[in-house]
Symmetry: C2
Subunit: 361 residues, 2 copies
DNA sequence: TTGTAAGCGTTATCAC
DNA sequence: GTGATAACGCTTACAA
């Protein structure tokens, strides 16, 4: 109650304790050497005044904030919230705070976030880049000496550590499994925007490589690889992208299942899309896996609870964040080794939503 | 590439531009008045030197950080990630950054988080308190003058704004609906720890009021209210709490359905618990809603995709965060009105998981 | 419009 | 072990 007018500072405490500011600071900051008796006096004075340290002032002189900046697209998305959890756990363990910015995939927002965070003098930056195109701000961060780690998406131009998943291999594995069960008409729900859809339809199908920063694009490339290996034509009809929301996947699924020769299996490139596909199938009275098999990506918390339990490609989501944060902390500690690029493995988790293709569909 | 040795400061820029530090600062900070020509010179110099402002120094003198501290239990939990999204949107709109700490319901962690954040001189604090018992740190924050808003859980001792949901009314509404459909054996999956379970079993059932900070406790109280109104005995057998994880709810459901006289309806007090109940019912071959009706809390993204679609008590999750943040910003702007306590309304969303009780179960 | 100089609350460098 | 005192990089009177 005594402490109204601004909070007490070290000089205030020192005065009350009858010591110099330097001594008081040493006692309160636990550095240098202070006798037990003066320490006691100082602590008593601090308590009486309700002294609270000012980290800003400390950071000014030490040059370190014990704070990490995290820039990702949408914390509401379960994938990112789990990534963040991984980051946050490792960071706090090491005594760092985390400041978070959502970009909603806007490169503009990302740029400004990076600027603000570096101005706040975060000790390091974890970024899940929105766009492979505009990366000048990341390059500039990286060679201004602020430690930077790329999360879930790698950009070649940027000289920084990265932690990603082998999305292409994952997409391939899922598709190969379906092909091995006799499926030849395999639908793909991607969610990515028009540009990419066209790239898919284009002869040679090379466009997708360009956009590979997008994780779903990597998975889509794996899908194409597997089809080609299996000698199955890649048809643009079977590749639909209406957007990344659940409702979008509902529409996409409706479109797929309304084709004259509908797919016998569907691959949904993320967990929300799988949810939409499931919903659409239920609403249309299509049985899974009897009529159509379904494979999703990312092992969400509901995959075991739905009917049928969903077969998915699981990725170590929390580990992506944790590993990225560990790499960042190493850089902050001063490591100068060349950039490392960790590629985490995915795992095909087979549950009940996939069955061999039926004789006549 | 020119900028290696620490980053350039205002004096550096000023020197290069041939003006005083004050002028350079004014030009770069967009305050005071600067002639167009000098501004141009300064900006050129800043660009050449790769100058980046130091927010720490600015904050030291202005006394404001444009940063909000957010303390909640677990960002991985979809509920909190949506709350955070609401907070984050409003905060960024107003030009504030957000620093996040997970407490995992540990009061100890919460206390230390609050300390660290105030030492970092955040302009305000949003806290979802872990424990109604130890609140000294919150009281001290609140009367040290740092704006504070309580999120999703209110504590009477703490003089601060709060935004919550009327959990008791929500629990009552869900239970009343089940009772109206003829259900008299209604199971409750709470997740809360032993202490509360005992309180429930105790005569008079007063214990739960004490722990009402917990949202599930509020809902449980509403359940009890509704049962009493309907003249149904509250039996401890029908109230199970194995923990808050999905697996816990699976076990809880198994226990409920193994009773000699199993419930004909189950109320699961949060979305993860509902997920577990659903999974257990599927695994045990119990049909929903034919054999047992199920009601959940919190409208997760999967509720429409499961079979049957889940009837839930929906709460305006994102709005909880957004409203809380708005209140906080008002305080930061200097509002001194007495604490306000917003109670947001919930909504019973009826889907397919509830049916009238069958003649003979 | 521009410049001078006094802080903001710490830590760090020296002496003693 | 303790005490002056100079940074840290910026904003802000106050003067010019």
């Amino acid at each position: 109650m005594e402490e109204r007018k601004g909070s007490a500072t070290i000089p205030d405490v020192a005065r009350l304790a009858g010591v110099s500011t330097a001594t008081a600071a040493r006692a309160l900051g636990n550095y240098g050497s202070v006798s037990a008796s003066t320490r006691a006096k100082v602590e008593a004075a601090a308590a009486e005044l309700g002294y609270r340290a000012n980290s800003l002032a400390r950071s000014m002189v030490t040059g370190t904030t014990n704070t990490l900046g995290v820039v990702l697209s949408d914390i509401e998305n379960p994938f990112f919230s789990r990534v963040l959890r991984g980051i946050s756990d490792v960071a706090h363990e090491a005594g760092f705070e985390v400041v978070l910015v959502n970009t909603d995939e806007s490169s503009e927002t990302e740029r400004s976030a990076v600027r603000v965070l570096t101005e706040k003098r975060v000790d390091g930056l974890l970024v899940c880049p929105a766009d492979a195109g505009s990366t000048a701000h990341l390059v500039s961060v990286s060679d201004s000496g602020v430690p930077l780690v790329l999360v879930d998406r790698r950009i070649k131009d940027v000289r920084a550590d990265s932690v990603v998943v082998d999305n292409r291999a994952a997409g391939r594995a899922a598709t190969e499994m379906l092909a091995a069960l006799g499926h030849r008409r395999i639908g793909l729900i991607t969610g990515m925007d028009g540009e990419l859809g066209e790239a898919f339809a284009a002869p040679g199908l090379k466009g997708i490589e360009r956009a590979m920063i997008n994780t779903t694009a990597g998975r889509a490339a794996g899908y194409r690889d597997a089809l080609q290996d299996a000698g199955i034509d890649v048809s643009a009809d079977y590749v639909v992208s209406e957007g990344f929301r659940r409702e979008d996947a509902v529409r996409a699924t409706q479109r797929l299942l309304s084709l004259r020769r509908p797919p016998t299996a569907i691959l949904a490139l993320d967990s929300l899309l799988a949810l939409g596909a499931l919903q659409a199938m239920r609403e249309m009275g299509v049985r899974c896996p009897d009529d159509v098999s379904l494979v999703g990506f990312d092992d969400a918390d509901w995959t075991e609870a739905v009917t049928p339990p969903l077969t998915v490609v699981a990725q170590p989501v929390q580990r992506i964040g944790a590993e990225a944060c560990r790499l960042l902390l190493e850089r902050i500690e001063g490591s100068t080794r060349p950039p490392v690029h960790r590629v985490l493995r995915t795992e095909l988790v087979e549950r009940g939503s996939v069955a061999p293709v039926r004789r006549r569909s």
